[in-house]
Symmetry: C3
Subunit: 142 residues, 3 copies
């Protein structure tokens, strides 16, 4: 693997893709978030849970997960850093990214936890980047 | 909105623009910071305050704002994440960016607050990127 | 200094370089980290210490430094932000980057400290980007 094996345009495209994808998630636009996955995309947001499969499955999982925040005026923001891409033999990109979750409540200070690593497989299609699979590991669970 | 509607060169250019812009602000180089705005640029650093207008106005606002730190050897650093660009009909770019303010004092640990969102309108000119307007929202004030 | 003086491809290449470089460091792959420096590269990870010189010297310094974490199941992650590049007359790039160190222990919450600034000189070679020198300053030590 070398950092130069990925074309510059693709690197910036992936960065921009993540910006829109995660602002959709943090904005509660779950259908928009799910649409950033491939039709058969999988999303495992926490270790040990079954991955959600497909866009409808991803939306359902997010709705379920966010029930814990019902009536709680929380704003969560997922920060990403150090997007490392590795081209795979099948044309996909393995993407390994640091993540921190910022949580803020009215009048409060941001809590910054947990520290995670995002393990994605990405496809670059004519319609843009899509996530084929996403699996999150948590540093405090290792 | 699609992430691909913005050319790759422009995306990297905006990222680099923000790096220099915010290092100027955090370095106390207010004239350099103001010069990253258009001549008639507006800057509203906190909700509910009147925006500063024009480069001289922006410098004056920053001088005024920083009086609260006089004699306080504080180092502030504005971190940005997830720069999401959306081209506008008039050729400008709407830019929505996560921000965290890192504050450090001698011998101390960084305080990381508040969590904000930067709402910019950017112009890409022959001389580089310029901010036409900037408005900041704070997550804890929503 | 202008942000546009650095070509777009180079900016994205440097970002990607840092992603791989710092994931190597945080993954404990010290030889991989050292290989991101030029043969005669220098690395001063803290103010006031002698810089390590050359790849073997950098590996030795990292092994020595990490002895303090022996038996401590700590995960450290170095976050970067606002990579500001300035081309130098000799063809190298001066790179000034914000950094935060995220430290996590099993079952714990991330500690985010210290806040640093990375002062690099980078070379763009046929084999990719290489760090010729790295010096770190700490905000709380100013």
């Amino acid at each position: 693997m070398t950092a130069t094996a990925v074309r510059t345009e693709v690197y910036a495209q992936v960065q921009h893709f993540y910006a829109h994808q995660m602002q959709a998630l943090d904005g509660g636009r779950f259908a928009d978030y799910a649409a950033t996955f491939t039709e058969d995309g999988t999303f495992q947001h926490s270790p040990g849970v079954q991955p959600a499969v497909g866009r409808a499955g991803i939306v359902a999982e997010l709705v379920e997960f966010h029930k814990r925040f019902e009536g709680d005026p929380v704003q969560r923001r997922h920060w990403f850093n150090h997007i490392a891409l590795e081209p795979q033999a099948d044309g996909s990109l393995r993407s390994t990214v640091y993540a921190l979750v910022v949580t803020v409540r009215p009048g409060g200070k941001p809590e910054i936890a947990p520290s995670c690593v995002v393990h994605d497989v990405l496809l670059v299609t004519d319609e843009g980047v899509r996530t084929r699979s996403r699996m999150i590991t948590h540093d405090q669970l290792v």
